[in-house]
């Protein structure tokens, strides 16, 4: 009993010191939160470029209304960065309550920006969610370290991502197992691979994957960029790219727009290898008729880069309770299993399936992951994302070399 009180006191001290909501100085029970959330409207700002994801969010919104009487409006954004600028603009316009964003789908650089500008709801709320107990903190360390930045409970994990490649077995039966094999393959078959142009997310991801493999000391990537050694650190990467570019699709003079465009090029047979951040992407695309059913997935020897995506509550949300209910619902075994179903979305869970109660575990066991999805064992090791500061530096260096010709 007194232990709980101490935790409460401690929390009260921490939250009070953070100068957040007045009523958060008294820790509330989940029942209170559920009660206060009733009738709230949660504006959930989430990237809206994928119809399947949009339908999933629509489903979750319907459930939340049914269970808690909370209305969820999916605000489809084209770029999460726009949401960040919007919150910044609201802060500077003095709109400290009643902000237009209640929950945002976020990770990496965008999270880091909001966190460092203190534009997120008080720390620790994510761990108070009832469904937090199922989160696989041990097995998936990225659920509390977002691109090496500690989440401090300011965002709640939603799904996992890992870089996965795909190939059409009709045209390329045996895919390359490493980046150097990929380069060799392209030297013989020019034009059959490309990556989106950075700063597009997937393009930057490809750069990071290559950098992790090529940098002399990978531990440098856990720390902020050291501008003194940056040029030298990325030299192996750009040497590799200098050689790769003439053998890329369109000779490296034009680039695919994004992962979906790459997928389309793979379907058209313009390229032999595409990649995605969702291990179930190939299966879902086959299901949709966007890829022929001869496409399969593969990963590189030594592992591929992976991360977690989250939902976060801005500091000026007026529906924090409703947003927490939504975040908690998105973490529930029911919602997580549905999300992992490739027919629905195919996004891997953040939960520790083995630790779930039997009936919830069954939901996952029943899933048919699809013909082109690798099993968790075949997915291999997940490499951590570099510190966020590497992203903008890499993008700048890339643009200076290839983007301004």
């Amino acid at each position: 009993m007194w232990k709980q009180n101490l935790a409460g006191l401690l929390a009260a001290f921490m939250f009070g010191a953070a100068g957040a909501l007045a009523d958060s100085t008294v820790p509330r029970s989940w029942d209170d939160i559920t009660e206060q959330a009733k009738g709230q409207t949660v504006y959930f700002h989430a990237w809206g470029g994928e119809p399947r994801i949009n339908s999933y969010i629509q489903w979750a919104a319907g459930e939340l209304d049914k269970i808690y009487g909370v209305t969820v409006e999916h605000v489809k954004v084209a770029e999460t960065a726009n949401v960040v600028t919007q919150i910044i603009a609201e802060k500077s316009a003095g709109r400290d309550t009643n902000g237009s964003v209640d929950l945002v789908w976020i990770n990496g650089e965008n999270f880091n920006t909001l966190k460092s500008l203190r534009l997120l709801a008080e720390p620790g709320w994510a761990q108070t969610l009832p469904n937090w107990q199922y989160v696989d903190v041990e097995g998936k360390p990225t659920v509390i370290k977002d691109f090496t930045i500690p989440t401090d409970g300011q965002e709640s994990p939603w799904g996992m991502a890992q870089l996965v490649f795909m190939h059409d077995t009709r045209r390329l039966p045996q895919p390359p197992a490493s980046l150097s094999e990929l380069a060799e393959y392209l030297a013989e078959n020019p034009g059959r691979f490309s990556y989106p142009q950075p700063p597009e997310f997937f393009g930057t991801t490809f750069l990071k994957q290559a950098l992790i493999t090529l940098i002399d000391d990978p531990s440098k990537l856990d720390r902020p960029v050291n501008s003194a050694t940056f040029e030298q650190d990325v030299k192996p990467l750009f040497d590799f790219l200098d050689e790769l570019h003439p053998t890329l699709w369109r000779g490296g003079q034009a680039f695919p727009r994004n992962a979906a465009h790459m997928r389309q090029l793979l379907g058209d047979g313009e390229i032999d290898i595409a990649f995605s951040f969702n291990p179930a992407d190939a299966s879902s695309a086959i299901e949709n008729g966007e890829l022929p059913d001869t496409v399969r997935s593969f990963v590189l020897r030594g592992g591929t880069i992976g991360n977690t995506h989250f939902v976060a509550i801005p500091y000026n949300s007026s529906a924090k309770e409703g947003a927490m209910l939504l975040a908690n619902f998105l973490l529930s075994p029911l919602a997580q299993a549905r999300k992992q179903d490739p027919k629905i979305w195919g996004d891997p869970t953040v939960l520790d399936i083995a630790a779930l109660p039997a009936e919830d575990r069954a939901r996952f066991d029943e899933l048919d992951l699809g013909i082109a999805t690798l099993s968790p064992e075949d997915l291999g090791a997940t490499l951590p994302e570099p510190h966020p500061t590497w992203v903008s530096e890499l993008e700048k260096a890339w643009a200076a070399r290839y983007g301004g010709s």
Partner: protein
């Protein structure tokens, strides 16, 4: 009694001052406020992001962006070339073929293209000419031997050639219809008869006599095309180069960067965009002078060039290709919207399905509705304002001056990206960003000029004797307006509303920026899908971009026929 009516007219539409002022505020207000909102951050003043000291840092950052000069050159080059070629095609075609059957037929073909959003035309072109597109499929693998799409740099080529072609595809119909309208002011028939009797060839005769009279009338539309082409975003995103991209799409990328400093850089870019478009206009004015001198000299040589069969048929072929490309582009959009599993090198899809349409119509219902509300709302409001203005001028016994007409081109001459960004910042402060009303207001800035241009001429050409007869019969001003003028102008009014609707449907940047990403229309949705991999869904939304204006245009021609079904003299005639 009489006094009461006088009072009523005095308060109502008596003086054109109030509607003129309103129109001025509606156009100049957002533009000047937006420009200010762009200028201040460009020079380092954006308190919202903690920048309050004026500094040239944003411009320094802008000019140190890699490939910025290439971007500027691309914007200038693609804009000037697209405008010059479009104008050249239109003038030469008019010279060679005006008052022929071919000319009239093409006018009928090209008129509906006016309402087609740029993005839809660009998608159609992409589906046609991409290495995995329809043309290559047509010859593969049988003729070309290509089992797989050739690795050819056709779309997004670094020189912007495809982008220029995409712009020409859309600007030729616009300039052509503007020229057709201008031709009615010039007595082409008698002029061409006169020059023909002097032994001039058809084309040369037109060029040295009629063209100098036509050009001044289409000059503002030409400059609007130039300003648009040098600052275009949607066509550049679909067809343009990316290493680097032209200036305007790059500004948009900077705008959506999480780093606050990038917003300042984007503002500086927006200011630079004004300079680039202004420079393009200056260069154009220089060309105009050269062209004038050349015309002057060549017309004095007295050369006749009586036989111009070859150039005439060349330009006709060119125009036919242009129409064919546009039409087959739309055909492909339609085909993709019902295709499933259409892999290279299949010429036609293996399976046809309506599933994509069903899906889009169920999940995209709000989007379609939003598009409709925005289009109808802005078009009807603008039409009401224009009618008010025209009616008050009529009652004052005059017509809107030329200066007003020129002023209406203002929103078409200022690069969109340059003032919409500033406007967005203001709207955020006013807390009305992302609302339908704000987006409708932004759309109206672009809808109003077209509605006015579409309505002003039919209004002016109305026979004033009808109103006079009604007045002698004792009808009041407002009764004349309701019972005589409005019914007689119903057809052009509905057409003007339809044009306004189509303009609204095609707006990409105002919707994205002022809507804060929260207002989605079929155009923003299709641009978002262009980045995705689902061509069938893209086909559906691109088709919706065509279908929605088409429905409204159909209504515009149906309603008068219904309303006037028992008025023989009011039936739309087929020659119209």
């Amino acid at each position: 009694m009489a006094q009461r009516f006088q009072m009523k007219t005095g308060l109502g539409a008596g003086s054109p001052k109030l509607p003129t002022l309103l129109l001025f505020v509606l156009l100049a207000g957002p533009i000047s406020a937006g420009l200010l909102g762009t200028l201040l951050p460009a020079f380092g003043y954006l308190p919202a992001l903690g920048a309050s000291d004026p500094s040239p840092d944003a411009f320094r950052a802008l000019f140190s962006a890699p490939g910025i000069w290439t971007s500027i050159a691309l914007s200038l080059g693609t804009g000037l070339v697209a405008t010059a070629l479009s104008l050249g095609i239109v003038i030469l075609f008019t010279a060679g073929w005006s008052s022929t059957r071919a000319f009239d037929n093409l006018r009928r073909f090209l008129s509906p293209l006016l309402s087609v959003p740029h993005a839809a035309a660009a998608f159609g072109l992409a589906f046609l000419i991409a290495p995995s597109g329809f043309l290559v499929r047509l010859v593969s693998p049988a003729l070309s031997g290509w089992e797989r799409p050739p690795d050819l740099l056709i779309l997004n080529d670094p020189y912007g050639l495809t982008m220029t072609a995409g712009l020409i595809l859309k600007e030729v119909p616009f300039l052509f219809l503007m020229t057709v309208a201008a031709l009615t002011q010039v007595n082409v028939k008698s002029i061409s008869r006169a020059v023909a009797s002097l032994g001039y060839g058809r084309m040369r005769g037109f060029l040295i006599t009629a063209a100098p009279q036509v050009y001044p009338q289409i000059r503002l539309p030409v400059l609007a095309v130039l300003a648009y082409s040098t600052s275009v975003v949607d066509v550049a995103l679909i067809l343009g180069p990316t290493t680097p991209a032209p200036l305007a799409p790059r500004i948009l990328v900077w705008l959506s960067d999480p780093d606050p400093a990038m917003r300042l850089k984007a503002s500086a870019g927006a200011v630079l965009q004004i300079a680039v478009s202004a420079l393009a206009i200056l260069i154009w004015l220089g060309f105009e002078r050269l062209a004038r001198n050349w015309f002057f000299r060549t017309s004095r040589t007295g050369r006749r060039q009586a036989s111009d069969r070859v150039p005439r048929f060349l330009v006709l072929t060119f125009v036919i290709i242009l129409v064919a490309v546009t039409a087959s582009g739309f055909g492909l959009l339609g085909l993709w919207s019902v295709a499933r599993g259409w892999w290279f090198p299949d010429t036609f899809p293996a399976q046809l399905t309506l599933a994509t349409w069903r899906e889009a119509l169920t999940t995209g219902g709000t989007t379609i509705w939003t598009t409709f509300v925005l289009g109808a709302g802005s078009a009807i409001c603008c039409a009401a304002l224009v009618i008010w203005l025209l009616e008050s001028h009529t009652r004052a016994g005059n017509v809107p001056g030329n200066r007003l007409r020129q002023f209406l081109f203002l929103p078409l001459l200022v690069p969109q990206v340059s003032f919409l960004f500033g406007l967005q910042v203001l709207f955020i402060h006013a807390q009305i960003d992302g609302t339908l009303l704000a987006v409708m207001l932004a759309h109206s800035v672009f809808v109003l000029p077209y509605v006015f241009l579409a309505l002003a001429d039919p209004w002016a050409h109305q026979d004033p004797r009808y109103a006079r007869i009604a007045a002698t019969l004792g009808a009041t001003n407002s009764r004349i307006f309701r019972k005589v003028r409005l019914p007689m102008l119903l057809t052009p009014l509905l057409v003007a509303i339809a044009i306004g609707f189509a303009v609204s449907v095609g707006q990409y940047l105002p919707t994205v920026l002022i809507g804060s990403g929260r207002v989605s229309t079929v155009t923003t949705e299709s641009l978002a899908l262009a980045a995705g991999g689902n061509r069938s869904l893209l086909g559906v939304y691109a088709m919706l971009q065509l279908i929605l204006p088409f429905i409204v245009f159909s209504l515009a021609s149906l309603i008068p026929a219904l309303v006037f079904r028992n008025r023989l003299g009011m039936r739309p005639t087929s020659t119209h």
